[in-house]
Amino acid sequence: MGRFRARAALAIAAIAGGLVLTLRGQVADLSRLQILQNVGLTAVDEGVIVDQSHLSGSPGSARRAGFHATLEQAGTSSGVARFRPGRVLVRFRDEASMAERRAAVRMASASGEIGTRPSYADFDVVQLNPSEDAEAAARVLSQRPEVQYAQVAHRVRATMVPNDPLYATMQWNLPMLNLEKAWDIQPAAGSTITVAVIDTGMAYQNATITATIPAFRDDQGTLYPALGTVTIPYSAAPQLVNAANAGRIIMPFDFVTNGARPPLDFEGHGTHVSGTIGQLTNDGVGTAGVAFNVKLMPLKALASDWDVLFGAATDVGGFDDDIARALHYAADNGAKIINMSLGSSGPANCATNANQPECSPVIEAAMRYAVGKGCFVTVAGGNEFEDNIPPFGTNPTSILAEIASRVPGVVSVAAVNRGKDHAFYSSTGSYIELSAPGGDVRGFGLAGAIYQQTFDPNFTDTFLLPPAQYHAPRFDVMGFIPYQGTSMASPHVAGVAAMLMQQGVTDPAVIEEVLEKTAVDLGAAGRDNTFGFGLVDARAALRGLGLAK
């Protein structure tokens, strides 16, 4: 018996080892993930979940970060990649012929080929051998006269500072924006407006998932066994979508799998962000949302840990090309507000020299396209105030937020805490334009966080458990979970903008102007690098101006 156990253990170890090797360096394998849409039970609602395992600096948070890194290493060939290997995003000048374009590519890379232009892209993707230096190729291409810009596909991440631990008791954030009086002005709360949420997806429908989950090693080298093929329950967040308002979901799309799977959230971030924008309100359940009647367009462009383990993605996070395509998609399919609770760090001078590593001209072009189509865009200001991100140092420039500050109709949003002061993590700089509540547990405890309905991490983040307790996740247990980050601040502004657009201000640049002029000045008098023009005042923005006052 003992011998049999030893053999079985060896066999399991061998299989597991093989699967670990298989996981590392492989491309996405969608055959491992099947989703039977609209088949599943409604979510179990556990109410408020006081879970401190996601608090910034907690052991749980550290383990999650390490686990992310492990999966990123599994999906890429050289450590935690700052960009997607094997591709350069290029916008050729219109007058350049195809022959000239190909010649330019050959000058930059021996293996470079211009691929078929992806949907919702105004740029081309030059495919390289993954072992080639994509940054070097982008640098050469950006110097070519045929090229408007060339860049690698930078990795972007959700900007929430993980904070895993209702209106009158817990949502200090909504009254801070003077929303009660804004709702008096517009009880319809954005009912005619579609808000696109570019994020980790959204829990917008019930489903039954069949996934084949391989073994993996965490950041400590601990082996987690393969779970084989498992059936996983998945439910819509009932405070986002229920039988009475199923029509609020508009044109969902998953850019991680290029539309091969529905944009279901396997992380919780996108669902939480969507809740702040449009959580069902006045229904006697849970929390409230800002523009609680808006239509929602879930656009999944950020992959989560489970996306990687399910074989739907190679890396955690997202990349510039998917974000840019999502911006085009949203603008072309009727969205009027786009929320981007995501970001990346880079140099401070992309405004004067966009063709340098870490700048993202492809996203700037996509933002300008979206604004040109009448979309107002909100971007998280960044969570790196205390973080040292080599080579950019502490409090580095948040690239997407910096772009936002240069595009009228796109705003970068910093986070304030419950005391209307700077949230400890919120990045500062000349690119910060507005402030909104982002949550801050430092000094306020869990009462200082932003609560919305999303997955109970105790049922989803099973990879943080010891291997013996590790099991398949469940995405059908929901609770009101505390989060903090500029990811949480940005959707507050998106919600107010949706209400403002429904009220009659249809020009994105004017929406920005209005939000900035009606903001409550915080910090140093006038615009400053911590709070921008100040804290958004929903009532002042929606009520507009008389002749004299």
Binding site: K181, I185, G504, V510, E513, R543, G544, L545, L547, K549
Partner: protein
């Protein structure tokens, strides 16, 4: 309008000569209707969708020797519109009801000319000052949000009076008012850069008295 002018001229010419007799001092009440084009074009257009509005009022004149006069006028304008924003030359109406009320009290002094060939027509010019009340109320207002203020301005006008009867006359004139201090420091008027609540008005007065 042309028909009205011809009718007035006809009535003037048809009036008995006695109507032209003028006492050394006369006190003459009148009713007033004006059509004012506001100087703050973009501001009024943003709130009301147009810039021409009527004022209704009345007043009294004291005329000395038929030539010099002092006039006091009180009138009122009230219009319902919407709160709005103005940017890039375009107004964005918000559907929130707004009511603006202007109550001018103007005092002018002037001179009446004599036309030997048309004794029943008395051209005149006048200038003076006014106190202009401005009230702005709108829905969803908190304490202090509405406006209730009064500022001084100045006024000049010129026109002609037509004697229809010994005791009845009419006057038509054009009046320019300049009213600083109410617009320009807040609201849409700050966005449009307009600071004058005045404008140019065509006025019609029905005068009772000699």
């Amino acid at each position: 309008m042309t028909r009205i002018v011809f009718l007035l001229l006809g009535l003037t010419l048809a009036a008995p000569a006695a109507a032209q007799d003028e006492p050394s001092l006369s006190i003459r009440p009148f009713f007033l209707v004006t059509d004012q084009s506001f100087a703050a074009v973009d501001t009024f257009d943003a709130a009301f969708g147009k810039t021409y509005f009527p004022f209704f009022g009345g007043g009294g004149q004291v005329v000395f020797k038929g030539t010099y006069f002092v006039e006091i006028t009180a009138s009122r304008f009230q219009e319902n519109g919407e709160r709005s924003y103005f940017s890039g030359g375009k107004a964005f109406k918000l559907g929130i009801p707004l009511t603006a009320t202007i109550t001018p009290i103007e005092v002018t002094g002037g001179y009446r000319f004599r036309l030997p060939t048309l004794p029943r027509v008395r051209p005149y010019v006048a200038a003076g000052f006014g106190s202009y009340g401005y009230q702005e109320t709108s829905s969803f207002a908190d304490a202090g949000d509405n406006v209730d203020t009064r500022h001084a301005g100045f006024v000049v006008n010129g026109g002609a009076e037509f004697r229809l009867h010994r005791w009845i006359g009419v006057a038509v004139d054009v009046q320019y008012t300049h009213i600083p201090g109410i617009l320009g420091t807040g609201g849409v008027s700050q966005q449009t850069g307009e600071s004058d609540l005045g404008g140019v008005a065509a006025r019609f007065k029905a005068i009772v008295g000699r």
